[in-house]
């Protein structure tokens, strides 16, 4: 019974990937320049989603729901941007963005692990804080001295289709690919990962084995926050180069859908992020193209995908058993 549904689920995912691949190849032969542009855009659009999903899954695997990713991203984007304006040092700006994410992660961990506040409320607090603070301190007319530029990886860039899409990107996009692999390795091949997953499933069992549940949760939420901070930095320092009010535009929430679609695994989430990224890139491209469909409808594409994915897959994917429940020692 259980086996059957696993198989059928794998079938769906494989079928979907195959279909997407076919469409990409077909369109590549049809018009290579646009295809490359759309795919490159898809990868860039998927970056904040993949990072957000990594943040979410690190929290949830250790038992803490993080719906404050949106706020974390927004604040980090803002702080990173301000630092870039003041110092002009992009590397330093990215690092402060990351640190901001980590600090807010610490706040979330404090609320949900130590104070045992309802985790949804804790995340909401962070979202409101993010929108409020950035909206209040935002000043029109600030400009940076530039944004992170693409680095091309020499000869690899000349591979048709793959080259321009994969090997000519700015640093945070590369870093995301590395992070996906690193988080996957840590989660499934190290003792730290084993303990993290155990804490998310059955914290009392872990406690009785002499492992510090609180420390595990704090560390994971803070590290996740740092990754969300990187996503925020990506938005202001790599993608756009400036800050706007509410510029995260729901990416923090879509990242959660991505995480669920990816079954709480880094690689699965990355695949899901690519799919969403593709939807966003297509939407932009389609708005340039024909006038037959009103652009409002095309703009719905990514969100429609979110609804379909969540409605179709949430029931089947299994979240960590202890997610959302604060741990109390007896």
């Amino acid at each position: 019974m259980f086996q059957k549904y696993i198989n059928s689920r794998c079938g769906i995912v494989r079928g979907l990937s195959f279909l997407v691949l076919l469409v990409i190849l077909w369109s590549y032969f049809y018009d290579s320049a646009i295809t490359e542009a759309v795919l490159a855009s898809a990868l860039r659009q998927s970056t904040p989603l993949a990072l957000g999903a990594l943040c979410g899954l690190m929290g949830e695997r250790s038992g803490v729901i993080n719906i404050g990713i949106e706020g974390q991203m927004l604040l980090s984007a803002f702080v990173g941007f301000l630092v870039s304006v003041w110092t002009g040092n992009l590397l330093f700006a990215v690092l402060t963005g990351v640190a901001t994410g980590a600090v807010i992660g610490l706040l979330l961990a404090f609320m949900s692990v130590s104070l045992r506040i309802d985790q949804i409320l804790g995340g909401t607090v962070i979202n409101i804080l993010g929108f409020g603070l950035t909206g209040y301190f935002y000043q029109v007319g600030l400009n940076t001295k530039g944004k992170l530029q693409s680095i091309s990886l020499g000869p690899l860039q000349d591979i048709p289709l793959l080259g321009p899409v994969l090997f000519n990107n700015p640093p945070i996009t590369y870093l995301t690919l590395v992070l996906v692999l690193v988080v996957h390795y840590v989660l499934f091949h190290t003792h730290w990962g084993l303990r993290t997953r155990a804490v998310g499933e059955h914290p009392r069992a872990v406690d009785t084995l002499g492992i510090n549940v609180f420390l595990m949760r704090y560390t994971n939420v803070v590290l996740g926050g740092a990754i969300a901070g990187l996503a925020g930095s990506f938005l202001t320092l790599e993608a756009v180069g400036s800050f706007e009010r509410g510029m995260t535009n729901g990416r923090g929430f879509v990242a959660l859908a991505v995480m669920i679609f990816g079954k709480w695994t880094p690689i699965g989430s990355w695949g899901a992020a690519l799919l969403f990224g593709l939807a966003i890139a297509l939407q932009t491209q389609l708005q340039f193209g024909g006038q037959t469909i009103p652009h409002q409808f095309i703009g719905m594409l990514p969100y429609l995908l979110t609804v379909v994915v969540l409605a179709g897959f949430v029931g089947r994917a299994r979240p960590p058993a202890a997610v959302g429940t604060p741990y109390t020692k007896e």
């Binding site: 019974m1 091949h189 190290t190 003792h191 084993l194 059955h202 406690d207 009785t208």
Partner: protein, 517 residues
Amino acid sequence: MTQQPLLELHGITKRFGDALASDHIDFNLYPGEIHVLLGENGAGKSTLMNIIYGLSTPDAGNIILKGNSVKIKQPRDAIGYGINMVHQHFMLIPVFTVAENIMLGHETRWGFSLDKKKASQEIQQLSQDYGLEVEMDALVENLPVGLQQRVEIMKALYRETKILILDEPTAVLTPREVEDLFRVMRNLTEKGISIILITHKLKEVMTIADRITVMRAGRVVGTTSPSKSSEEELAVMMVGRKVVLQIRKKPLQAKDVLLDVKEFTVSDDQQMEVLHQVSFQVRAGEIFGIAGVQGNGQTELALALAGLLPFNRGRVCLAGKVMPSLHPRVLMNHGWAHIPEDRQKHGLVLPYSVADNQILNTYHQPPFSSLLRRNKEVILVNSTRLIEQYDIRTSGPRNPVSELSGGNQQKVIISRELDRKICCLLANQPTRGLDVGSIEYIHQQIVRLRDQGVAVLLISSELDEIISLSDTIAVMYCGKIAASAPSDHWTKEQLGLMMAGYSPPPKSLTWGNRKLL
């Protein structure tokens, strides 16, 4: 025994608020012995073990390990001293494999990575040394409880245990699995491991113990051994008064059939058919016991009969009337009472007061409510009467039921269900996890109802309970009633084998759904 004790406790005292959970407890454990810690729920056994295991710290007293005074502040310290505990509710991660569960917190590493291969080899070696066979790569959630417990024991062995604490290990096991466990325990003690066994089951104590320490109300009542004591004596030590272990009831005077279930077929929430055309009849004044290992359809049978799970096919007659549909309130109006298996999930609303829980099924009727209003006075008066009549230990009717002990929670349910005029009682695992005193009380109540002419359907995985209470015993296996017969036609061994699906029933019985009476 003249050798030095492995573990000594001196004057261990622990307070929770005003209550003394442990009151100057002295206890010692010799190498290679099985020392049973016997006591009712709330006697302080678990508190004491949590202190040894570092889950709580004593307010006063010393722990002496091999002659040296030690401080155990957290489980990590205890594990470091070779003390391990198998908890009553298993501390296993269901979605992890056996190997992952065993090595969690004690991982074999290779650089940053887990060395899964080496860990598997080590565990394999252990399982050979101690004769504990488990499949390394199976997910724990797919294992039967007996094997899960084995994984717990291997977890302890993997940490090189010297002292193994087993907290109520037999509560969830079948008779055969219990035998297995006892064999394993003997095996362990032969290899020099000392075992502290926590239990309140007297029969087991007599079989397995080397020494017995009895606790009551946070104090040690005495230490003895099976050869110097008897079940009755231990029960008196445990409860503090004489306990009736043998149930006395009048001879069966079964009359009309009150509950008639015909070809009842039920699917579980995953649409798997778990109950196949089950038929049986329960008469007035009869206790019909259904024995069986957990997970053979009893849970679904009870839920479906109580109207909490839809049934596919079949027919249920209550007091001669065919029930058009099974809806809890319709059933209740026809004189149906239900003591659910999971009292906290299906029996009570935990945050509600005792008084409100006692009117959960009659709150809409006078005198408890009039038109739109609840009559709080009447509800409180009713509750005060029931608390007195059913001897429920609580600080008052307004006390949330979540603050009561398991036995008293069960009494709240019983006071609610039995305080009406009823014709049929479904009691599913009515004494699970309760202490001897409460069990005795609940058994008396069930027998009282039977003698008053109520049809009682008793479902239990406790074989002793089924045998001592039932007039007729049926065995459920794989969603069917494998056999049913008057209780004196059965021997305990036959029942045990039937429950495990092993042997055909004795000659005097019939197969399938036909009932022999």
